[in-house]
């Protein structure tokens, strides 16, 4: 069986990597290059609006090096969660970039594009037969949620990616995928232990974040054998340590021991981490427990309106002290002035007080000498959001409060114009597991020779 070397160039396609590290990785003759291109972390907007949180120019820069390296060495390149969210427009952007680079550089290869957008009627069918369950604190799915959803994606497991490789694909561009899947697919296909392969994928998917010092824009190499895997950084300034690798295993997961994914659960109860050289860590004992039924995680968003914000500062100690009074009276004036409008959201974030932690904050009574005030309105149209935000801003600028001595204006605006349109607002409204009969069925494969 030998060993399989997997090169992870960066935490997210477009976050970049030092060429030195990448060349060092290529010297180790990897069998696969794989990279994660997305996440739900940047929030619901990107999935809803069909745009990417990664920059086109930065993604193209990374892809140029990856495609050139993979195609010239005849090793597969797998990209997961294309375009940041893995929906149809996201796939389109990255597929367009791949074709553009191929044309510019005269590269030829077989490209597989795996779709991950799921039709709402397909989900409705499963919902009606009781095959959709909420994940964690999410509420049970309703048909109203489905009707309101503007886009739904499913997280593919390793199977559709293995299918693409079976079809002879040299470059695989996948829609929404379970983060470790692009790293593990070739390994599982070659018969390596899926527990080790997926655990290795879990570490590699964030690039050098698992090293010390960590970085989201540097490379990491994984070496998988029949009974173990090792990870090592490719930049001399970094080391993988037992602590950095074990700690990364915890990253972004609720339970460090049992990590559920498509088709089963990664069990790390018996995982052992061992320092085998100054920079390399060996892992053994990770196992994969297939589940009785195959479940795919669905992510979906609905539209919540349009946002307008205004940013201002306040340095007046009396106003800072009376800020709750000020906000209450501004809210009341807005309510009174626009009594015919009831469907808007108005919020004031107070940086210097609890702007970062909101209701989680316990220190909001600690005195501060200045505040940043972010006024935010979300409403059904952009014009209404402008109206509510602008009215709240002008009211706050000139309203009175107990002990006021500065009667010329309450706010320091850093900019003119003072108000900014944030555009469409979306909310996550689907975060559920759907049972499927076949791991391939939601993820159609498209092959093209380029």
């Amino acid at each position: 069986m030998g060993e399989l070397r997997i090169l992870s160039p960066t935490a997210i396609l477009g976050y970049g990597f030092p060429l030195e590290s990448f060349k060092e990785g290529l010297k180790r003759e990897p069998h696969v290059i794989a990279v994660d291109a997305g996440s739900t972390d940047p929030g619901p907007y990107y999935l809803g609006a069909g745009v990417s949180f990664t920059n086109r120019g930065a993604v193209k820069r990374d892809l140029e090096f990856l495609l050139e390296a993979a195609v010239s060495r005849k090793i597969p390149l797998l990209v997961g969660t294309a375009g940041g969210s893995g929906g149809r427009p996201h796939l389109q952007r990255d597929a367009g970039l791949i074709r553009e680079i191929a044309r510019e550089r005269g590269l030829h290869f077989r490209l597989a594009v795996i779709h991950a957008e799921v039709d709402r009627e397909r989900v409705r069918e499963s919902l009606r037969s009781g095959k959709v369950d909420p994940l964690g604190p999410a509420q049970p799915l309703t048909e109203e949620d489905l009707d309101a959803a503007v886009r739904i994606v499913g997280q593919m497991g390793v199977e559709p990616l293995m299918g693409a490789l079976d079809a002879g694909a040299e470059v695989v561009l996948a829609g929404r995928a379970y983060d470790p899947a692009v790293f593990a697919a070739q390994a599982v296909r070659r018969g390596f232990d899926p527990g080790l392969a997926i655990h290795l994928g879990k570490i590699l998917e964030c690039g050098a974040i698992a090293a010390n010092p960590g970085s989201g824009s540097d490379c990491l190499l994984g070496i998988l054998t029949e009974s173990l895997f090792e990870v090592e950084p490719l930049n001399r300034q970094r080391r993988c340590t037992v602590s950095s690798v074990a700690a990364h295993t915890l990253y972004e997961k609720a339970d460090p021991v049992l990590l559920p994914g498509p088709g089963g659960c990664l069990n790390l109860k018996k995982a052992r981490f061992e320092q085998v050289s100054e920079t390399r860590v060996r892992v053994t004992g990770s196992s994969f427990i297939p589940s009785d039924s195959y479940c795919v995680k669905l992510e979906g968003v609905r539209k919540a309106g349009y946002r307008t914000i205004s940013l201002a500062g306040c340095r007046d100690p009396v106003m800072v002290r009376e800020i709750d009074y000020v906000i209450d009276s501004v809210r009341e004036r807005v309510r009174d002035n626009f009594s015919h409008v009831d469907d808007y959201f108005l919020d004031f974030k107070l940086y210097g007080r609890n702007g970062v932690m909101g209701s989680f904050e316990r220190k909001k009574d600690t005195p501060c000498h200045e505040l940043a005030i972010l006024i935010e309105a979300v409403a059904g149209t952009q014009e209404l959001a402008d109206t509510i935000c602008g009215f709240a801003r002008s009211t706050m600028l000139h309203c009175s409060y107990p002990g006021r001595v500065a009667t010329a204006g309450n706010l320091a605006f850093p900019f003119s114009p003072s108000d900014f349109r944030g555009g469409e607002v979306f909310r996550f409204n689907i975060y559920h597991l759907m049972e499927v009969d076949d791991p391939f069925e939601l993820f159609p494969l498209e092959i093209a020779d380029i």
């Binding site: 052992r272 909101g358 909310r427």
Partner: protein, 111 residues
């Protein structure tokens, strides 16, 4: 009883989303000794985290020890779903500060 600052025992103290509905806190201790001191202190309970974050006990989903990493992991229900109107931290990456003030009581070594 002596108290040791958490920052003297843990090298990594961080928060992050675990999906859009949950926030997960990691305390990764510097070595096994530091982890054992923290664990034996008995202070890392659901009650502690409910108090630190002004939330109900049932919104602390779990406090889990992970020996291999000398770590304690805590998962909370987000008070606002990531990106919903009213959210203050989409990635959940700046919710760890209350942990930095913790002090861990340790028994004085016998003379």
């Amino acid at each position: 009883m002596k108290k040791i600052k958490i920052t003297d025992l843990a090298g990594v103290i961080r928060s992050k989303n675990s999906g859009p509905f949950e926030l997960t806190l990691d305390l990764v201790f510097k070595d096994r000794r530091a982890f054992e001191l923290a664990r034996r202190s008995g202070i890392f309970t659901k009650e502690l985290f409910a108090g630190l974050y002004n939330i109900n006990l049932q919104d602390v989903l779990g406090v889990v020890e992970y020996e291999q990493a000398n770590a304690i992991k805590v998962t909370l229900v987000r008070s606002v779903v990531s990106g919903d109107p009213g959210d203050t931290d989409i990635y959940g990456a700046q919710q760890h500060a209350p942990l930095l003030d913790l002090e861990v009581p340790v028994e004085e070594p016998c003379v």
